[in-house]
């Protein structure tokens, strides 16, 4: 690379802390279709964007039933729905072109691009173009990839996001938004960390939870009729005895 890697500055967060989706960078967020709301919530909640300017959400047109962002739901994530501009592109090529134009203009606060499947047009060249555009306009660009295998790209970070069981409220109601995120790849930094994040409505941001404390299953599980007694450890772990 012609450009040397920027040295770690004093503002850089210490290793292990959760990095935000920083400005002037390209970020990839991978998620399954069932976790799409979580991926969007992660993107909206973590993106480092100005509060007043519009956010562009670009989506390819899909056949059959589609998702529509819900204004009230956006507001719960601290995003004013009036700021959202939704762009429907004909296909992936048009999506990337529109995304590039959006990233070049310094108008929007952030550009989020939804994409589904392999998306052949998104490669090293396309991602590099997006980065150059984002560096010029100093806005963050996030590409959300649904049901896709990670492909080599020039993106600064790559995340996988999925929903995680929430801490139940009273009366066994589902709790606050809880996500399980993994930083799969990061340019010029360590990767592979995982976090459990919970949306904190009072502070309007994600809060880190300890990774291992899953809510105890016996508290969570409803008394389902005909629950099967688990196999005992002796039966499963004991080596088979030779009979002969």
């Amino acid at each position: 690379m012609s450009r040397p890697q920027a040295p770690a500055c004093i503002e850089d967060p210490p290793p292990g802390t959760l990095p935000r989706l920083a400005r002037a960078q390209l970020h990839e967020v991978h998620a399954a279709a069932e976790d799409w709301a979580s991926a969007l919530a992660f993107a909206f909640g973590m993106v480092d964007a100005e509060k007043a300017r519009p956010v562009l959400l670009l989506r390819p047109r899909r056949k059959g039933a589609g998702f529509v962002p819900c204004g009230e739901g956006l507001r719960a994530l601290g995003v004013d729905p009036a700021r959202l501009v939704i762009v429907d592109a004909r296909n992936d090529a048009a999506l990337l072109r529109a995304g590039l134009d959006a990233a070049r203009s310094s108008g929007p606060a952030a550009v989020l691009m939804e994409s589904w499947g392999p998306m052949r047009e998104y490669d090293l060249v396309a991602s590099r173009r997006l980065i150059l555009a984002a560096e010029g306009s100093r806005i963050p660009v996030v590409i959300l990839r649904g049901d896709a295998e990670p492909r080599s790209s020039a993106a600064h970070t790559r995340w996988t996001v999925s929903s995680a069981p929430s801490a139940p409220l009273e009366m066994r109601a589902p709790g606050a938004t809880t996500l399980l995120v993994e930083l799969v790849r990061r340019r010029g930094g360590p990767a592979g960390q995982r976090w459990r994040l919970e949306w904190n409505e009072d502070h309007g941001g994600f809060r880190e939870l300890p990774l291992d404390t899953q809510p105890a299953t016996e508290e969570r599980g409803p008394p389902l009729p005909g629950t099967v007694v688990p196999l005992s450890a002796v039966r499963t772990r004991a080596p088979l005895r030779r009979t002969a």
């Binding site: 819900c70 719960a76 004013d80 959202l84 399980l180």
Partner: protein, 451 residues
């Protein structure tokens, strides 16, 4: 009229006289708009057209009649243009013409009834009680006495109708449409050259619009080819603009997305540019430091560009609507038409998902009867066990929009929404369409995904 109906009558009275009367609510704004349009159409007959509120037009046809073959022919053409219900009159001045058209009579204003003075009811009945029926009777009396008894207005109206004082016509000034045309002695063979000419024309149009404090919203460029083919390119902007560069970007975008590419053929003979829709756009202060114009909404140029390329319906914003059903509580509208509508302050209501499924997808559900949350559901062939659930949030059907919806049992199906979490930690918004009291076997639908 023939059945004894008149304006100012009560509806019940009118219906009693004519039972099969068709009625429509009065819309004065629409009436005024139609009148203005008619005034615009009358410009074909004379340059001096005045509005005679609320329902009349005054045309000064001095020196115009001979162009149409005399006054009678002119009147015939005007009446044909406007419609057969028109009442018209010709008179040497506007007050007399107005009185003659509205209060009938022959060409002589002296035979008109005193009602033509359009005084209030008290003064009119006073005139009639004094035995003064026509304007001719009035004109024979000394004016000073009339002014003393019936007010100065009576005298000034009378003198205007008789033509003793002037009654000027204040014409509607129609603004000249902004339209430019360039003709070439030799046809232009290259599209790029033609676009340069268009840019020059846009600069000229921008100057004209700046004088009028206008900015264009809709622009049409017509390229006339030497073989008489025409190509028309129309671009629209969300905000009024005068900047030729912004319009040129949109035009180039439009040319790129043409299904039938622009072909100069044997060259372009002429190019016309028209501003089809303009809005008020005040002159902007130029910032001293950067020399650039201030830019308030910096995403509008991008919205214009994407709207031209992908279609107006592909670039949209969310607006709130005052409805109860979740899928109708918001709408997606083209961002070109509307700049972010403010959302109302959040009410204290149960949480809404981040994504709504459009349309809601049917799911198979195992749930207790009648009002229990689902225990297990199957979506897209996969089984989900419900671990946590909250609800129901009951949302009634919009019975007030339904014909006969106020009758018991005809209101439509009530929805019971549950917020549920499955074993994998995914949160869904699911509803039962109908109560068990409303229908025997209500179906379940998945309507949203919570993050």
């Amino acid at each position: 009229m023939r059945q004894g109906l008149s304006s100012g009558m009560t509806l019940a009275d009118a219906r009693a006289r004519s039972p099969d009367l068709a009625t429509a609510p009065h819309d004065p704004i629409a009436d005024a708009r139609v009148l203005e349009q008619l005034a615009g159409a009358m410009i074909a007959f004379t340059p001096l057209v005045a509005l005679d509120a609320p329902d009349g037009l005054l045309l000064d046809v001095t020196g115009c009649a001979h162009l149409f073959g005399g006054e009678e022919a002119l009147v015939r053409r005007v009446v044909k243009e406007v419609g057969p219900t028109t009442r018209h009159a010709l008179a040497p001045h506007s007050a007399a013409a107005r009185a003659l058209a509205r209060f009938g009579g022959k060409d002589d204003v002296r035979t008109l009834p005193v009602a033509a003075l359009e005084l209030d009811e008290g003064a009119l009945s006073g005139l009639r009680r004094a035995g003064l029926e026509t304007l001719g009777d009035l004109a024979a009396r000394p004016m000073a006495g009339l002014a003393a008894r019936f007010g100065e207005l009576a005298v000034s109206r009378l003198r205007a109708i008789l033509g003793e004082t002037g009654s000027p016509v204040i014409p509607v000034r129609l603004t000249e449409p902004i339209r430019l045309e360039t003709r070439f002695p030799e046809p232009l063979g290259r599209t790029d050259d033609a676009l340069e000419v268009v840019e020059d024309m846009l600069t000229q149009a921008g100057r004209t619009m700046e004088q009028r404090q206008l900015g264009g919203r809709r622009w049409a460029v017509t390229l006339h080819r030497s073989d008489n083919q025409r190509r028309r390119l129309v671009v629209e902007t969300g905000l009024a603009v005068r900047d030729p560069g912004a319009v040129m970007r949109l035009l180039r975008e439009r040319i790129d997305t043409l299904s039938d590419p622009l072909d100069p053929g044997f060259g372009f003979d002429a190019i016309t540019l028209a501003v089809l829709h303009a809005d008020h756009l005040p002159s902007r202060q130029i910032l001293l430091e950067s020399g650039k114009e201030e830019n308030a909404d910096n995403v509008s140029a991008l919205v214009d560009q994407l709207s031209v390329r992908l279609g107006e319906d592909s670039v949209r914003r969310l607006i709130p609507r005052d409805r109860h059903l979740p899928e109708k509580a918001q709408a997606l509208v083209p961002a070109l038409r509307l700049r972010g509508a403010p959302w109302p302050e959040p009410e204290d209501m149960p949480p809404r998902p981040l994504l709504l499924l459009d349309p809601p997808q049917p799911v198979e559900v195992i749930a207790g009867v009648p009002d229990s949350p689902p225990q297990r559901f199957r979506w897209k062939g996969r089984l989900h066990d419900v671990i946590l659930a909250e609800g129901p949030e009951r949302i009634g059907a919009e019975w007030w929009l339904k014909r006969g919806g106020h009758m018991p049992g005809a209101a439509g199906e009530t929805r019971d929404y549950y917020r549920i979490e499955d074993g994998a930690g995914r949160r869904y918004w699911i509803f039962r369409h109908g109560l068990f009291s409303e229908k025997p076997d209500p179906r379940w639908y998945l309507h949203g995904l919570f993050p």
